[in-house]
């Protein structure tokens, strides 16, 4: 049992349990958005509107997916470094994770711009609305994760270290970050790879 969990009737620290409940509820949020996209992706499109599979850039999105997967590795390395008392390592890996998240977001911005220039848009067809809402909300989650990582990094720099109490914060931000990664694993396969 973790030192944080002493006195908790469940044996799990309350904030950690709360985070898992939150992530569980997020499944329904993204489940609904993915299902919405699935409903519309086979439908006929108005003249002049490109089909998603006509303009997807799979090599580019594969690279973005790889970047996000590797950010999960750097996140877990940040947590591991803190566990080992390596404050410098923690800062390095937190900043690397934020950098990889920003790289993913830059890729998404580029992808959205390309799609827009090719005739796709939020209001041109239901399939494109559902695509942009789904991937846009995922991007918003990544952005929030990047902000949390940068807050942890700046706290570490300001205080000179992340304390035991901050250790749980790193773990909770890590859980959120990995969740964003697993949602992308599903989106990448269901939205991009399966016509």
């Amino acid at each position: 049992m973790s030192a944080h969990a002493i006195g908790e009737s469940t044996g799990v620290e309350n904030r950690k349990l709360g985070m898992w409940f939150f992530l569980s509820s997020e499944f329904l949020f993204f489940g609904a958005l993915i299902t919405n996209y699935m409903l519309f992706k086979g439908r006929d499109l108005p003249a002049g509107v490109p089909t998603p599979f006509g303009i997807y850039d799979i090599p580019f999105t594969s690279f973005s997916s790889f970047v996000l997967l590797m950010s999960s590795l750097t996140m877990v390395l940040a947590h591991h470094a803190l566990h080992e008392g390596d404050q410098r390592g923690t800062r390095t890996w937190l900043l690397t994770t934020a950098g990889l998240g920003l790289t993913f977001l830059a890729g998404q911005f580029f992808e959205f711009s390309e799609f827009y220039l090719k005739g796709a848009g939020l209001s041109v067809a239901p399939v494109w609305s559902s695509f942009f809402v789904l991937t846009g909300f995922h991007g918003a989650h990544v952005f929030i994760g990047v902000l949390m990582l940068l807050i942890l990094f700046s706290t570490s720099v300001r205080n000179g270290e992340l304390s035991e109490a901050h250790g749980l914060n790193v773990e909770l931000v890590g859980l959120y970050w990995h969740f964003v990664d697993i949602i992308w694993i599903v989106i990448f396969t269901v939205v991009y790879l399966i016509p």
């Binding site: 499944f27 329904l28 997967l69 890590g174 790879l193």
Partner: protein
């Protein structure tokens, strides 16, 4: 993270490499459908299986659920099962509509 077992950096790197390889296989399958005689009906179950494997690997090792108390696994599973149920209902409805119109 539970303190009974703590994965090593070596294990984390191996897991990340495995995730990279699985992603490469997914992309490879996509192009096999595009450029060879492989049908989508053959590729789709494989792609879903690979995605499920990646999902479970991240949850198990990076989110440490493999080393945590069962309470957390159950909590997480509730959302996953409900979201999967929602997806299954919609897909079933789509199939029924398709068969009715055929």
């Amino acid at each position: 993270m539970a303190e009974t077992q703590s994965p090593t950096i070596k294990l984390y790197i191996r897991v990340a490499l495995l995730l990279g390889v699985l992603t490469a296989i997914e992309v490879g399958l996509f192009y096999l459908v595009e450029f060879t005689g492989m049908t989508q009906a053959m590729a789709t179950p494989l792609l879903l299986g690979l995605a499920a494997s990646k999902f479970l690997i991240v949850v198990g090792y990076f989110m440490h659920l493999k080393y945590e108390k069962p309470l957390l696994s159950r909590t997480f599973a509730i959302g996953a099962v409900l979201a999967g149920g929602l997806y299954a209902v919609v897909i079933a409805d789509t199939i029924v509509s398709y068969l009715n119109n055929a």
